[in-house]
């Protein structure tokens, strides 16, 4: 058991850190991740193209698909450093972590030749068309229909809570192709967002523009050539690739970066946290939790590397603490540190008012992760 990074891993991290220092737009800050403005969209796109050119987007992909078969640990270093810099990849982390791998696993040679180089270059944006008004955590009940008609599917329905829909060129869309078969009636379509009949509407929140959207599909003709994998077999594929996504999001480095920003902001106002024992207690508790969280992610990575088959409880353990407990604690801490100053729009604490709420909800709710931990780690009976 060795907790130290190897010399090669440390060198890779240092090079990446240097690249980030030189290439992350000064506009990005802490607010850019949802690409809420055209300027931030351009900043994100330019950054991703440069990252692609330097091999920092897909080093863990196989050589034949533009990667270099880098270790999972390198992928984690990238995640830590990117999140520590405010995740300047924007939505690209989805592309490289699971959309690309899904296309590698189930795509036709034409789909792979078309999509994978674009994903590796970093110049396309995707959104995921999963949740619907009546299908959230119970995703397998989704109803957006795709009916075969000649060489096309005709898609009708509505997706909701979709991040990045306002800038995406493609949607990784889950549709129902068999109304009577539950999860065995779900198919994946790789849908160009410019097709006639697709309408994106922003859903207003009090936080910042373009946090979430809804997408309406009205008689959208999607070529059958856009289907990923077999018809009605989409659920199994999406489950397996999303399990891998659970361990690629190093939010703790982002929290630490935002903590430094809150402390800087308060130092400029002459506030020293060391004089406040209550705040010091809260700060100590949060830092200890981030350290634990980091190690639990590493343990989840090791679990994946060991690949002993069966359930992977540490993946859900990590996701619950990393996206659930941490973000809530960070939200409370940052507002405590900043006090009234945290109420100022776009202050670091203001940003976490959003993240502290959304992180335990997105990509499988905290409750879902706790269910998985209960079943896979504690062998508790399935809830009825």
């Amino acid at each position: 058991m060795d907790f130290e990074w190897s010399e090669a891993e440390s060198r890779f991290r240092a090079e990446l850190r240097e690249f980030l220092a030189q290439n992350v737009s000064p506009l990005w800050g802490t607010k850019g991740r949802q690409v809420p403005t055209p300027e931030l969209y351009e900043a994100c796109r330019e950054f991703c193209i440069k990252a692609g050119e330097h091999g920092y987007l897909t080093p863990h992909w196989p050589v034949e698909h533009g990667g270099r078969d880098a270790s999972l640990w390198e992928k984690i270093i990238i995640a830590e450093e990117m999140w520590g810099a405010g995740e300047p990849r924007g939505p690209q982390y989805m592309n490289v972590n699971w959309i690309g791998p899904a296309i590698m696993r189930a795509g036709t040679s034409e789909q792979q030749a078309f999509h994978l180089p674009r994903l590796a270059r970093g110049d396309t944006f995707w959104c995921q068309g999963f949740s619907e008004p009546n299908s959230g955590t119970d995703l397998a009940s989704l109803a957006t229909s795709a009916v075969p008609d000649g060489d096309d599917y005709v898609v009708n329905g509505q997706k909701v809570w979709t991040s990045y829909a306002h800038v995406a060129q493609f949607c990784f869309l889950l549709v129902r192709t068999d109304p009577s078969a539950g999860r065995d009636g779900i198919t994946i379509l790789l849908v160009p967002m410019g097709l006639p009949g697709i309408e994106v509407r922003e859903i207003a929140t009090p936080f910042q523009p373009h946090v979430i959207h809804e997408i309406f599909f009205t008689d959208v003709r999607v070529p059958q050539a856009c289907r990923l994998g077999e018809e009605n077999r989409g659920w199994q594929l999406v489950r397996s690739v999303l399990a891998e996504e659970r361990i690629g999001i190093a939010r703790y480095t982002f929290s630490e970066d935002v903590l430094d920003q809150t402390l800087d902001a308060m130092a400029q106002r002459g506030v020293d946290p060391a004089t406040d024992p209550v705040l010091m207690h809260q700060l100590g508790q949060a830092c200890a939790q981030w350290e634990a969280s980091k190690l639990l992610m590493y343990a989840a990575v090791q679990e994946q590397l060991d690949d002993i088959g069966g359930a992977r409880p540490m993946a859900s353990v990590w996701r619950a603490i990393g996206a659930g407990f941490n973000e809530r604690m960070a939200r409370e801490l940052f507002m405590s540190v900043m006090g009234d100053e945290g109420l100022v729009e776009e202050s670091p604490a203001d940003l976490y008012t959003l993240l502290g709420v959304t992180s335990p909800i997105t990509s499988g709710t905290l409750e879902l992760q706790l269910n998985l931990v209960a079943r896979t780690a504690l062998s508790l009976p399935k809830a009825v």
Partner: protein, 304 residues
């Protein structure tokens, strides 16, 4: 980075577990027989023989077995300070005069904090008054005598760090065992025609404390190999204390009235978990030190 648990580490855990099994869930007035067995198996010197992580594995096993014996001092703390040839039963004392010390009544030697210095004292030079307590850990009030070996300025910080790691590792083992015991119980216990472990209200609480206990275990292992890193050590203790408090509350709650009986057995883990929460000043002291460490690192980063 390589977090595989090696075969040697598995073997150490399994074999120390076998020794401890016969003593499990017992308060031991005279630990001599247990200590002799552990010594014969090389477990008291596992730090020097195998390494600090392996010492953390042994302490996890001790916590999981709910064996109340003075082991943390000898297995992890003393070797982290570079001390050799101490007797088998070493207890830890937070100050020189009148402080409460776990396992003091059966200790042969004490490691104590005196300002910024750590000291070693043999038990026959100290006064120990037994104290009655119901928390599964024998307590004594210790006054260290004048005959001590001083370990030098700054050594108290190293003692405190190693002590924190030891308490985190032992508490993590106890938490995981308490959660496993409780998970079995709620699976077997039927109310409203179904296993109570199938209710999400029960599942989510147990899942939450399992996550915290795993975090404590990994943080203790990480801190064990960096005995000079007071920030990591304080983090491991702060996190373990918070996790221990929640684990006590949840496991007792979902076990209902049965859970508080000696016969059911859960209290053998949960009562020492309460004791762990107060050790070395408890979570307040640990968290303050984490915060101080974080601010100090930040100051260094700013300067460089």
């Amino acid at each position: 980075m390589d977090l595989r648990v090696t075969q040697d580490q598995r073997d150490i855990s399994a074999s120390v577990g076998t020794v401890l099994h016969r003593y499990r869930r017992q308060a031991i007035d005279d630990p001599a027989a247990l200590l002799a067995e552990l010594d014969a198996g090389g477990f008291l010197d596992v730090y020097a023989g195998a390494g600090p992580i392996e010492a953390a594995f042994v302490l996890e096993a001790i916590g999981a077995s709910a064996v109340a014996a003075p082991l943390a001092g000898r297995v992890l703390v003393a070797p982290a300070l570079g001390l050799k040839d101490l007797p088998a039963a070493v207890a830890l004392v937070p100050s020189l005069t009148g402080a409460l010390s776990r396992h003091a009544p059966s200790a042969q030697a004490f490691l104590a904090i005196d300002g910024d210095e750590a000291v070693v004292a043999m038990a026959d030079t100290c006064s120990v008054e037994s104290v009655t307590s119901r928390y599964g850990v024998p307590l004594g009030r210790v006054t260290v005598g004048d005959t001590v070996q001083r370990l030098g300025a700054g050594s108290a910080a190293r003692l405190r760090a190693a002590w924190r790691v030891a308490l985190a590792a032992e508490a993590a083992g106890a938490m995981l065992a308490a959660i496993e015991h409780t998970s079995r119980y709620v699976t077997e216990r039927v109310q409203f025609g179904r296993s109570i472990g199938s209710f999400q209200a029960v599942q989510h609480q147990l899942a939450e404390v399992y996550i915290l206990a795993e975090g404590a275990r990994w943080l203790a292992r990480r801190a064990a190999i960096a005995p000079e890193d007071g920030y990591l050590a304080a983090s491991s203790a702060a996190f373990a204390c918070t996790a221990a408090a929640r684990t006590y509350t949840v496991t007792q709650q979902v076990s209902g009235a049965t859970g508080i009986t000696t016969e059911h057995g859960l209290v053998a883990w949960t009562m020492p978990l309460i004791a762990a929460q107060t050790e070395l000043g408890g979570v307040r002291a640990h968290a303050q030190d984490v915060a101080r460490g974080r601010l100090a690192r930040r100051a260094i980063g700013t300067e460089s």
